[in-house]
Symmetry: C2
Subunit: 344 residues, 2 copies
């Protein structure tokens, strides 16, 4: 067994850095833009509007059911581009590695990034590696920054959301959060992360050419947080129905047992779409034809007028309301504490 | 005194994350592209060729004489674009913060980033914040990814380097490395980091329209590492003269005392330029007129033919040679170990 480990010198910019880049990164990510290994990648500027997004991934553990930090780092950034209507094109990758990390683990993660990038049609054009002393990091943190292009005619924004619009979610919620929880706690729950690239699902949604107002992927903070952001940005209250929200039985059961709410659990392969009421069925059909959207469901709608809270601790603002299975309606607040740290 | 500290919940994606973004990041970085706070920034694609570069900054300590991790994170990425001949335009910023970091420190760093971005004419368009548990990070790590545009007609690459070309360095070497060393060790050395944005110096160099072959900023691994990279990429040996390399007396003295070699110390505001022999004086003049280049010097030249080593431990490849003050000539090897971890 190979027990080679990352040393501080792998981050020195000297010979060991060079070896790491040549033997691991360039081998896995090879393409003509990356291969000169300059301080910067140069490529033709795509026509139209550019989209740019960045995320640092600190998920713990780095390997989990359904994926690893590498796959997550590529898919997460692709998804942040996709939900804005952008097709992902180029990506930078930057590693902060804790001294002592097994090189085998790094190789596995890098391979998984290369596979994900290939399946997303995204080119890894430039990168960076830093190594910090043992105890000053945690295994590996990865930043990916993506650049994509937004086709003419595509304009998405929560500010376009109107009363009567439909809210669609592309599948079961909470799978990623529960998969991480399962791995951390050693629980026996039949669930894997939904970590997946959503650019093709988004392409299918946009190809319906139906009144799409806004899209968002409900990662940290879960569905509840995204819906609150939609309400804040649009100025309209939102009503969703608990019974219509797809949640795997295993996730539902584990949430009850462990005291979590699936509405706040992170997802890494789901999308929330707000469309005009008229086009909602058409969009739903298009989503269900894509394997990543086959459990898609209309879960609620945008309300006429702004339903606000009242009182000192509940200042007036558009609210997200949930009708429970028992017919009660309650306010779904923003996540206020930390439900599950280092979920992505 | 404000003793507010960063909590895990500041990285949750929920309410505290939102507050941090609104009150600290958006306030400091405000611009119309960033302000929608979407998952992605959208802007018109600049005409021509795009350059993209990424770096994660893990410098320790985060405040040092002449700068801080924030200024470094903006300047370092601007410089990586600049040395490729690109004018910096857009930047993403991603923070990995250790739980417990004083909010005041974060504010100071963010202000310093905003100032640096303004002085570089670069727009911070998108960002991300993660928080890791106490002991799983070290204060703050910052990734910046920059996008710039390369003007038509500009083509720089170490592969263009030819025998007879001149090697110019823009000023004294080792200042940043020694400033960090001074701060870590509490030494009394009169030196501050040279951390500065180099895009205007590069603009001045390129405006000479003289045979510029390649430029590089000698950060991690120092001048020795960049020259070795130039030798490797061009296939030509390089000869430099010790007496011509600008080094501050204080840095020279401290290096002797502490056992460091200025050739390997990091710089954060210096540039190494290779030009045709004919245009070297013209380029030198242009550099010296810029305050960031007023100690610029021609330090050597590219050799005719490939001077290679020999023997088992010294495989044949183009070498960097240094003529010492005593008239001896020695090989300047690539940095093999770690001279000074977390220098940037």
């Amino acid at each position: 067994m190979n027990e080679e480990r990352i040393l501080l010198a792998h981050g020195s910019g000297g010979k060991l850095s060079h070896d790491l880049i040549e033997n691991i990164f360039l081998k896995a990510f090879y393409n003509p833009i990356l291969s000169p290994l300059s301080d910067q990648a140069v490529f033709a500027s795509p026509a139209g509007r550019l989209a740019m997004t960045t995320d640092s991934y600190v998920v713990n553990p780095i390997f989990f059911p359904g994926g690893d930090i590498g796959k997550l780092a590529v898919c997460g950034t692709v998804n942040d581009l996709a939900v804005g209507g952008a097709m992902p094109l180029y990506m930078s990758v930057s590693f902060i590695i804790e001294e002592g990390m097994p090189v085998e683990d790094l190789k596995k993660i890098v391979r998984s990034m290369a596979d994900a990038a290939k399946s997303c049609g995204v080119t890894i054009v430039t990168g960076d590696t830093k190594v910090v002393e043992k105890g000053k990091g945690d295994n590996i943190f990865i930043n990916t920054t993506g650049v994509g292009v937004v086709k003419d005619g595509i304009n998405l924004s929560p500010s376009f959301i109107r009363p009567g619009d439909a809210v669609i979610v592309s599948g079961t919620i909470g799978d990623h959060g529960m998969a991480i929880l399962k791995e951390r706690g050693g629980f026996d729950i039949p669930v894997v992360s939904d970590c997946a690239p959503l650019h093709e699902l988004v392409r299918d949604i946009l190809s319906t050419d139906a009144g799409i107002r806004a899209m968002r992927d409900p990662t940290r903070g879960g569905l509840a947080t995204i819906l609150n952001e939609f309400a804040d940005s649009s100025g309209h209250a939102i009503l969703i129905e608990e019974e219509k929200i797809p949640v795997k039985e295993a996730v539902k059961g584990a949430c009850e047992l462990l005291g979590f709410d699936p509405l706040y659990l992170a997802n890494e392969g789901k999308i929330v779409v707000v469309t005009s009421k008229d086009s909602s069925e058409r969009v739903l059909d298009a989503m269900r034809k894509n394997p990543l959207g086959n459990n898609a469901a209309i879960i609620g709608s945008i309300l006429e007028g702004s339903v606000t809270g009242g009182g000192v601790n509940s200042p007036a603002r558009p609210r997200v309301l949930l009708t429970t299975a028992f017919g009660n309606t309650r306010v779904v607040e923003k996540l206020t504490g930390e439900q599950l740290p280092r979920i992505c």
